[in-house]
């Protein structure tokens, strides 16, 4: 029957707007304003889930984020997993499935697991999943006891968004306390940010029938919301959970469906002057045998369904309590026409005001529920007198229970503020604040409306703790954590096995580790431990409350900060030309998008690279060297700064000249290699490798600001102020002449490692003679606005000489043929200059520079070093993969080195490579062995240079 449990009237639902939805393949109807849970209850769906470990049938237990039992997976556009049914707003076309139960919760093959329950005790995972055999069990267990799968596809439309905000006061929670605080702060002119997890403001008032100054409390809420809306200094969000409280009062808020349109969720990062925690309180469960059966619900949730959603989850209700709040529930049920069969109160005496509230209802004092009848549908409750043991079965179809109330202290604890155990409330409450925050209302232990809002009328709260029902003859599992199927016996086992710290109990039993994070049950675990050990709860303490308070989607956390937005690519002005000319583009260090190679139609990588390399070796090529890190250093102390920074002497350079050098860190590692040029007396230009530009900048600034604050050196990053086309090859000078320049290009007037300012093809340029290919090279530096023009002119002037553009692949081949270093290949953080046969770069003259002492110290140790060598595979047509290990004789032994690069040499017409090899310098001419999966490759060890060993060409 459609919505058989829906009351004839009442509730904050829109009965004029029916909504169709699917649950486990069946079609149902609910109303706008329902949650999936309230709609299922309205339709009389009792079994809504199966439990995680034992696959016991479960129903709906709560009404909000505390729901431990019914998790669903949403399909289609809403695709998401593990959502508590109580927090899923109902909308037309919604399709949901319970997790953990194929093919349906009513018929579950895995229910047979219950028979094996004794084989899945506390610590099961630790006892079972042990090396070396854990991987044998894991797939089976995952299949049998998994939660929902991640959605296969992201939402087809809409996006996630991130926003930052600042507030004088951030208020978490828009219940009576939060609204009151917002009104006060807002009226005082403060910037207020108030966020509440519910779709509607009001907090607990939504679920209850209370009055303020004689008027319905929800009228007061509506007035408050109205007033806040009129304040320009107040931001009020609903459906927005404050889920993390970080250091220095940074809070993260997840706002769902913030507006009609394209935003799915919005993540707010709010820095607040003061934080007001008005998160209310959460009802806790009673612990007794079979307390997980469908039809056993939190009493406050029964009340919420009746009042807020107009749903009677049962017709004949028994209530079980240790505190006063249940009496107000009873009154609301009676008012709604629901029969309350009895109230079982574990207390021997019940305060008169509570009894007055529930007049006409049978109250059994000193009585507990010790079990239930009914597997999938509740039939009766076993009421047992704690003193006399006298018992009776009370027929009913719903049991509402309340173990008392816990202030919702998650955010409070996340702020590092401590808790104390309050004996009167039998609950942990906020103690002194560790950050600029305060808790108010129920979150601070003021559990009734009269203590929060003036004129509010409420039943005073009183409780006598009952951590678990402990009467003889109880049979069946008494659950502490419904979601992870942790029962009292599991905690007792953990204690017997020596895990008696509450953090250990949690991990060993997995109690409190579910998606609900034990919001209804953790306190009972603490209580059980305390009872067992005979100590006060304060001494047991709580486990650590960590963010998130409730689950947050990855999309919300990531927001728009996906890769291309967070780390945009860097381009040079030649990018468009590269694309137009068929370049294969990819990232080549530091997010620079560069051409890899320029294949002709039908050509593969190797053919294209060979063609480009031959052009450079025999004719001329040009590459775009713009991404090279470039810094201008000014000031009278630059010479001594560079002498400290580089391992060789830079201060002796004359204006116009440059020098290659190594930068070391003070512990002797090679940080970077590069070139320094002296522009004039007090101006220098330093270039670094592309990938290390930012790190070198940081290194230099740190030294100057923290070690030598009185040195006069100013650093300006000019990487983006200079672009360059590097013309290289034996015909490079011809191309320069064809371009037309006022610079004398003769080797005598313009030698290697110097620069000249002038014009090239009519463009103001700084031409530098460096070489990263081993050939005659002119690096023509121009302002970026001239780069595209220069590039076009170079291609035009070079055409008669067969000029080709050169990509990063060819640059790599050319540098390996010459044995030039590449950081990250040959320089890996273990080698020093001597290993690279570059001892000359380590100045003997300078008494001190970064790394000098450490390199000397390490070499004094006399340990075996891995040294740079060239390698020639025995089979000239066999490539050796980069990173391949070299082992002694090719045997299965510890490596004595590795291959750092291997390329097809166009000048040698064979594969050549570089390697780091133990004692490599003394082993030239010998044979070493590369050990690979498919065999052992002999290689000949050689000098690490395969082209122009004397460097005549680059100086020509």
């Amino acid at each position: 029957m459609a919505q058989s449990n829906r009351r004839a009237s009442g509730g904050r639902i829109d009965r004029n707007r029916p909504v169709r939805f699917q649950f486990n393949g069946k079609s149902y109807e609910g109303y706008e304003g329902d949650t999936l849970a309230s709609a299922l209850l309205a339709n009389g769906v009792r079994v809504t889930a199966r439990s995680f470990k034992y696959h016991r049938p479960r129903g709906i237990v709560g009404h909000g984020p505390e729901e431990p039992a019914t998790l669903v997976e949403l399909d289609g556009e809403d695709a998401s997993g593990n959502r508590p049914a109580t927090t899923v707003p109902l909308r037309d076309g919604l399709s949901a499935r319970s997790v953990n139960c194929w093919p349906s919760p009513d018929f579950d093959v895995s229910g047979i697991n219950q028979l094996f329950a004794r084989f899945i005790p506390a610590g099961f995972y630790y006892k079972t999943f042990k090396w070396p055999n854990w991987h044998l069990f894991e797939p089976t267990i995952r299949k049998a006891a998994g939660l929902a799968a991640a959605p296969a596809q992201p939402p087809s439309s809409g996006h996630f968004e991130a926003r930052h905000a600042h507030a004088d006061v951030l208020i978490a929670g828009a219940g009576p306390a939060g609204l009151q605080a917002a009104l006060e702060a807002g009226r005082a002119g403060k910037r207020v940010f108030i966020a509440d997890e519910g779709t509607e403001a009001g907090g607990s008032l939504l679920n209850r029938n209370l009055t303020i100054n004689g008027q319905p409390a929800m009228d007061w809420v509506a007035d408050a919301v109205q007033e806040l809306r009129g304040m320009g200094n107040v931001t009020h969000l609903q459906n927005a959970t404050v889920w993390a409280y970080r250091e220095h009062n940074l809070l993260i808020v997840n706002e769902r469906e913030p507006e009609q349109g394209s935003v799915l969720e919005r993540s707010w990062r709010v820095r607040a002057g003061e934080v007001v925690i008005a998160t209310g309180a959460t009802e806790r469960a009673m612990v007794f045998a079979d307390n997980d059966r469908p039809g056993v619900m939190l009493a406050s949730s029964v009340q919420a369904y009746v009042n807020r959603w107009g749903v009677a989850p049962g017709q004949r209700v028994v209530l079980f309590t240790n505190n006063n709040s249940v009496y107000a529930v009873a009154a609301d049920l009676v008012a709604a026409g629901v029969t309350v069969e009895a109230i079982l109160d574990s207390r021997d005496t019940v305060p008169q005001e509570a009894l007055d509230t529930a007049q006409g209802i049978t109250v059994h004092t000193g009585t507990v529920a010790a079990g239930v009848k009914g597997h999938k549908r509740l039939r009766a409750v076993h009421a047992v007198s704690a003193k006399s043991g006298a018992d009776t079965w009370i027929d009913c179809d719903l049991l509402g229970h309340s173990g008392g109330w816990n202030p919702t202290v998650h955010l409070w604890s996340q702020s590092r503020s401590p808790l104390r155990f309050d004996e009167d409330l039998s609950a942990f409450v906020p103690d002194a604040a560790a950050q600029a925050c305060r808790a108010i209302g129920a979150a601070a232990g003021d559990l009734t409306l009269d203590r929060i809002v003036q004129g509010g009328l409420d039943l005073p709260y009183a409780i006598e703790p009952l951590w678990r029902v402990d009467v003889p003859g109880q049979r069946g599992k008494a659950f502490l954590d419904l979601q992870n199927d942790v029962s009292v016996s599991d905690v007792q086992l953990a204690l017997r096995e020596g895990y008696d710290n509450v953090e250990h109990v949690k991990r060993y039993t997995t109690g409190g580790m579910g998606i609900d994070q034990g919001k209804t049950g953790n306190i009972n675990i603490i209580g059980t431990v305390a009872m067992q050990k005979g100590v006060p709860l304060q001494d047991v303490g709580t486990t650590t409350f960590r963010s998130p308070y409730t689950p947050v989607s990855f999309g919300a956390i990531g927001g728009l900060r996906e890769e291309s937005v967070l780390f945009p690519y860097r381009h040079t002005p030649v990018t468009q030309w590269n694309k137009d000319n068929g370049a294969v583009m990819y990232e080549a260090g530091a997010r620079w998008r560069r051409p890899g190679y320029f294949p002709k139609p039908g050509e593969g990588l190797q053919e294209a690279v060979n063609r480009e390399c031959l052009a450079v070796r025999e004719g001329v090529g040009v590459y775009d060297g713009s991404p090279l890190g470039t810094f201008e250093l000014k000031g009278r102390d630059v010479p001594r700064f560079l002498d400290f920074l580089y391992s060789n002497v830079m201060s002796s350079l004359k204006p116009g000249d440059g020098r290659y050098g190594l930068m070391l860190s003070d512990d002797g590692l090679i940080l970077d290699d590069g070139v320094a040029f002296r522009l004039d007396e007090h101006r220098w230009m330093v270039s670094t490798s592309t990938g290390h530009a930012d790190a070198v900048n940081q290194h230099m600034e740190k030294l100057l600001q923290t070690e030598f604050p009185d040195w006069q050196v100013m650093i300006t990053t000019v990487t983006s102020q200079w672009n360059n086309a590097t013309i290289c090859g034996p015909r490079a000078r011809d191309v320069m002449q064809a371009l037309g320049t006022d610079i004398d290009l003769s080797p005598e007037a313009f030698p290697f490692m110097s620069f000249r300012d002038g014009t090239v093809a009519g463009i103001p340029a700084r031409v530098v003679r460096v070489s990263f290919t081993g050939e005659l090279s002119f690096e023509v530096n121009v302002a970026p606005r001239h780069m595209a023009e220069l590039w076009a002119k170079v291609m035009e002037a070079g055409a008669p000489f067969g000029i080709l553009p050169v990509g990063s692949e060819s640059s790599h081949v050319l540098r390996v043929e010459k044995g030039f270093l590449s950081l990250g290949h040959e320089v890996d953080g273990t080698v020093d200059a001597y290993d690279l046969s570059m001892g000359w770069v380590m100045s003997k003259k300078k008494p001190d520079y970064l790394g000098k002492r450490s390199v000397a110290l390490r070499r004094e140790g006399g340990s075996t070093r891995r040294e740079l060598v060239g390698i020639l595979p025995g089979d000239p047509n066999r490539q050796v993969p980069e990173g391949a290990p070299l082992t002694l004789g090719g045997r299965k032994e510890a490596t004595e080195g590795l291959v750092t690069a291997c390329v097809w040499s166009v000048v040698n017409e064979r594969w050549v490579g570089l390697a780091l090899l133990e004692n490599g310098h003394a082993r030239h001419g010998e044979t070493a062995h590369v050990r690979l999966k498919d065999g052992v490759i002999p290689i000949t060890i050689a000098k690490p240079v395969f082209h122009d060993p004397d460097g005549k060409l680059l100086r020509s």
């Binding site: 970080r246 003070d666 940081q698 600001q705 923290t706 450490s854 110290l857």
Partner: protein, 85 residues
């Protein structure tokens, strides 16, 4: 995410800064210390449970290298202990 006080820019989000490690003893003259002293200088950094002086670089701000005292237990930025700067 911490709020770090920059002497030029005021309190700014930690994401604008790059961590530069704890403040260590001044770099000794490497020619005037023993091997052990040199290795100690390079490898032993303060790591107290409590206030520690740290270097931070306002890289995505004004470019200043600055120091703060941070309590490692709480992330609170604290006053320099008596007797230190």
């Amino acid at each position: 995410m911490m709020l770090i006080p920059c002497p030029f820019c005021g309190k700014r989000n930690e994401s604008e800064f790059i961590f530069g490690g704890p403040v260590v003893a001044a770099r000794p003259d490497p020619n005037a210390v023993s091997d052990a002293e040199w290795v100690e200088y390079l490898t032993i950094a303060p790591n107290p449970l409590g206030p520690v002086q740290e270097k931070w670089w306002h890289a995505r701000g004004c470019g200043e290298w600055l120091t703060i005292w941070r309590d490692t237990r709480t992330h609170d930025i604290v006053e320099a202990p008596n007797g230190s700067e």
